[in-house]
């Protein structure tokens, strides 16, 4: 199944064929609705809808890590912390 295979429709077309779009969505076919040449909405299957929060969370999480790994202050702090660890300057917890 092509998970994100989508048909593009105008808002006017979507309104006229709304019931068909819902049937399509239930069968896994998604539709993108365009208004004034911009994507206004999408009608997707329940399975696809479940993936959206995951995708959003994953992208946010990954973006935070990318920002962190390119932050010179963090990179310098990690290098400095590695030197502390090499010198045995460690505090341990058992949890």
């Amino acid at each position: 199944m092509a998970l994100f295979l989508s048909d593009v429709l105008s808002a006017k077309e979507a309104r006229a064929h709304f019931a068909t779009l819902l049937d399509d969505a239930e069968q896994g076919r998604s539709h993108v609705i365009v208004r004034h040449s911009r994507i206004a909405a999408g009608i997707v299957s329940p399975e696809q809808a479940k993936l959206l929060p995951m995708l959003e969370a994953v992208l946010h999480d990954m973006g935070e890590s990318l920002a962190m790994a390119t932050d010179p202050a963090i990179v310098a702090a990690v290098r400095s912390a590695e030197e502390e660890v090499a010198l045995g300057h460690i505090v341990s917890y058992e949890v």
């Binding site: 992208l59 990954m62 973006g63 962190m68 790994a69 990690v78 912390a81 341990s92």
Partner: protein, 142 residues
């Protein structure tokens, strides 16, 4: 996201001196939350969020606005915390754009990173849901 029950196994969490100094300035809730997340990571390494570029080989553990850079010992359940720092203002808003831009570069290492984050998300959900099931079973009348 996950409020998974902390595993019963004991693990050692080592802090670099500077990370520990900052850790002590965190609120009690943040300290407890971070220790819980660090322990979860020690027991379930698949929960780790790998870092990239010059921090490849390290992982990020977050609790609220606090973030840690950690590395783990593959043999023992020991986590070494190198840095504890608060998230920068606005960083969360920029994160999505940064990730999408990175994915568009079609860099295989970014693709691998994306897969690792999907895996970590799935593991986190599975851990949270098993914790909920266990809690329900414990609360159910005999």
């Amino acid at each position: 996201m996950s409020k998974a029950k902390t595993p019963l196994v004991k693990v050692r969490i080592d802090f670099s001196a500077s990370a520990h100094a900052f850790f002590l300035t965190c609120s009690r809730k943040e300290r407890e939350g971070l220790l819980r997340k660090l322990k979860e990571f020690a027991v379930h390494p698949a929960l780790g969020k790998p870092l990239h570029a010059s921090l490849a080989g390290y992982y990020r553990i977050s609790y609220g606005r606090m973030r840690c850079v950690v590395r783990s010992n593959t043999k023992d359940p020991v986590v070494l915390v190198l840095v504890v720092a608060p998230r920068k203002d606005g960083a969360r808003d920029d994160a999505y754009t940064l990730a999408v831009t990175a994915i568009r570069t079609a860099d295989p290492s970014i693709d691998a990173l994306f897969v690792a984050y999907v895996r970590a998300y799935i593991e986190e959900q599975a851990l949270a849901s098993s914790s909920i099931s266990r809690k329900k079973a414990e609360e159910a009348p005999e």
